[in-house]
């Protein structure tokens, strides 16, 4: 099947939208992606035809809802090549909750004073703050792997910082700011040899490239539905059966128990042990439709499309006077996020100008304040692409950036 971006775009109703009279150019896909008709339909179909609570009803609707919900679990597991999708996929609210689940449930049980938690200098706050919190509680220490000026992990620092005290290595597979793709498999090998577990933030990688958890050799992988065509409110935590079985539950309540007395309870088997209370049934089911959509396109094809458009964006931005691009310059080494600054125009001002031209980008610290300090930037602008973006949308971005000259053209800030 050839990759037909025009045909793909027809599946996304929102791409018809105009902003201030101009066609929407949506380049904020690292924040959240748009939804195809198939996903929206699945959501509506559930509410119109088989809305019911799952796992406990004995009526037709409950059975249908349960089958669709559990079907989405299997789809999510197969999507990342989990060995046992029925047990190894936990649904949460988002990547952040998935990472908090691991930090709390695994960390509280296994971390001791003096243990080390190692993350990287490019982590999103969601793979950094939960570890700081659990470190405070358990007496463990947090350390981080340094990056070079191109935004890549420094190999010597990886080897120097993984040691016999390291108990957790928490690492993003693809940076949400720099786009850098990290060598997770190699780091996981080092970590396991040292006796540490490996927790991967896949929020940016899973939506944009083929990801195989068995090949990566990670113990946990977290990602979000809404960054891969699915609804908001659904996160995934993949964990190996061994790792998940070793942990105590995170939240207590309905669904996660076997037997309850006033004094004590026994817990349900995987995956229910980690899914207390009524889950987000409708959105999980629609997430299943998002996975179907991605599978039909093929993740290799999606990745190929993104490499082409990302390289085009990097090349065009780099050719502009006054643009500073952060992170790797080769699209093959990175995901579809391109972070930059233009002259000394603050990214908020730049983003405001672009919005007037219907170009949506992200401006700010991208939930990575320590990384911003490392890059010596107060904030940056980020354009991020997905499977429906076209090359002419990069052109619109460049035009919009040029338009900011008209306003800020002669502004050079004193002492800035």
């Amino acid at each position: 099947m050839t990759y037909d971006v025009e045909q793909i775009r027809r599946d996304f109703p929102i791409l018809e939208r105009k902003v201030r009279g101009r066609p929407l150019v949506y380049l904020d896909n690292a924040a959240t992606t748009q939804k195809p008709r198939q996903v929206i339909d699945a959501l509506v179909h559930y509410y119109e035809h088989y809305n019911a609570n799952i796992h406990r009803g004995l009526h037709t609707l409950a059975e249908e809802a349960t089958a669709a919900y559990e079907g989405a679990r299997v789809k999510a597991g197969r999507f990342i090549n989990a060995a046992a999708p029925e047990q190894e996929i936990i649904f949460t609210r988002n990547t952040t909750e998935s990472l908090n689940l691991v930090a709390n449930a695994w960390g509280r049980k296994f971390l001791e004073p003096g243990d080390e938690i190692l993350f990287t200098a490019m982590e999103h706050h969601s793979n950094l703050v939960p570890w700081q919190m659990i470190a405070l509680e358990t007496g463990a220490k947090v350390r981080y792997i340094e990056i070079d000026d191109d935004g890549r992990l420094i190999g010597d620092d990886v080897r120097a910082k993984i040691n016999e005290r390291t108990k957790v290595v928490a690492i993003t597979q693809m940076s949400n700011v720099l786009g850098t793709i990290n060598p997770v498999r190699e780091i996981a090998e080092l970590a396991h040899r040292a006796g540490a577990i490996v927790v991967v933030d896949g929020a940016q990688s899973v939506p944009h490239m083929p990801v195989d958890v068995r090949e990566l050799g990670c113990d946990f992988l977290a990602f979000s539905s809404h960054k891969m065509l699915g609804p908001t409110g659904v996160g995934v935590l993949y964990g190996t059966r061994e790792a998940l079985d070793a942990m105590d539950p995170f939240l207590g309540g309905g669904e996660m128990i076997k037997r309850v007395t006033y004094e004590r309870s026994t817990y349900a088997d995987l995956p229910n042990k980690f899914e207390a209370g009524t889950p987000n049934i409708a959105d999980v089911i629609a997430f299943g439709a998002a996975i179907d959509y991605l599978e039909a396109l093929g993740m290799e094809a999606v990745r190929e499309h993104e490499i082409a458009i990302t390289q085009y964006a990097i090349d065009r931005l780099s050719a502009m006077d006054g643009v500073k691009v952060y992170g790797p310059r080769e699209a093959a080494d990175k995901g579809g996020a391109v972070t930059f600054n233009y002259r000394d125009i603050h990214p908020h001002d730049l983003s405001q100008v672009l919005d007037q031209y219907a170009v949506a980008i992200r401006a700010g610290h991208h939930c990575a304040q320590p990384l911003m300090r490392r890059l010596d930037a107060v904030a940056t602008a980020r354009a991020s692409f997905y499977l429906y973006n076209r090359h002419d949308e990069v052109d619109a971005l460049i035009e919009g950036i040029r338009a900011s000259d008209r306003i800020f053209g002669n502004v050079v800030r004193a002492g800035a």
Partner: protein, 156 residues
């Protein structure tokens, strides 16, 4: 309205002038109060020193890093409030915040250059950029009245 016109209304010449040449940038050594403002959502930063003569703000020094709106607003504010009493500053602060939250209301005459920020009210996400300096100043005044020397404000 065209994109160009709307942008011109937001980024008035006066704003860009204050952004380009911020007033009262000099640090005041041994000031009565130092105050820092930080907007964690966008990373805008403002720091200021305040020197009082009784109820009167005798001198203010302001610096910061952030977007044109946040930095221009701080500069315009510093020009307006220096030499005013705490009571007068509170009144101006109220007027400014009202101008930011009620785009339709009449613009008070005593706001000086800050009047140029009127267009910001139409861009809801930028209002916090414009008010950061005022919130920081307000906290600084409160600290002064409590007798404390330093304060840090985090806008949410």
């Amino acid at each position: 309205m065209s994109s160009e016109l709307e942008l011109d209304e937001l980024y008035r010449e006066l704003i860009l002038d204050h952004y380009k040449n911020p007033r009262h940038r000099e640090r005041i050594e041994h000031a009565d109060v130092t105050a820092e403002g930080f907007n964690p959502v966008c990373g805008d930063e403002i720091e200021m020193e305040l020197d009082f003569d009784g109820e009167r703000l005798q001198a203010i020094g302001v610096r910061g890093r952030g977007c044109s709106i946040s930095q221009a607003s701080a500069s315009m504010m510093s020009e307006l409030v220096e030499g005013k009493t705490i009571g007068e500053i509170r009144h101006l602060s109220e007027e400014f915040k009202q101008m930011m939250t009620e785009p339709e209301s009449a613009v008070p005459e005593d706001l000086g250059d800050l009047e140029a920020l009127q267009g910001v009210a139409k861009f809801a996400v930028r209002v916090k950029c414009a008010t950061l300096a005022w919130h920081t100043l307000g906290e600084g005044i409160e600290q002064h009245q409590k007798g404390d020397g330093a304060v840090r404000v985090e806008e949410m």
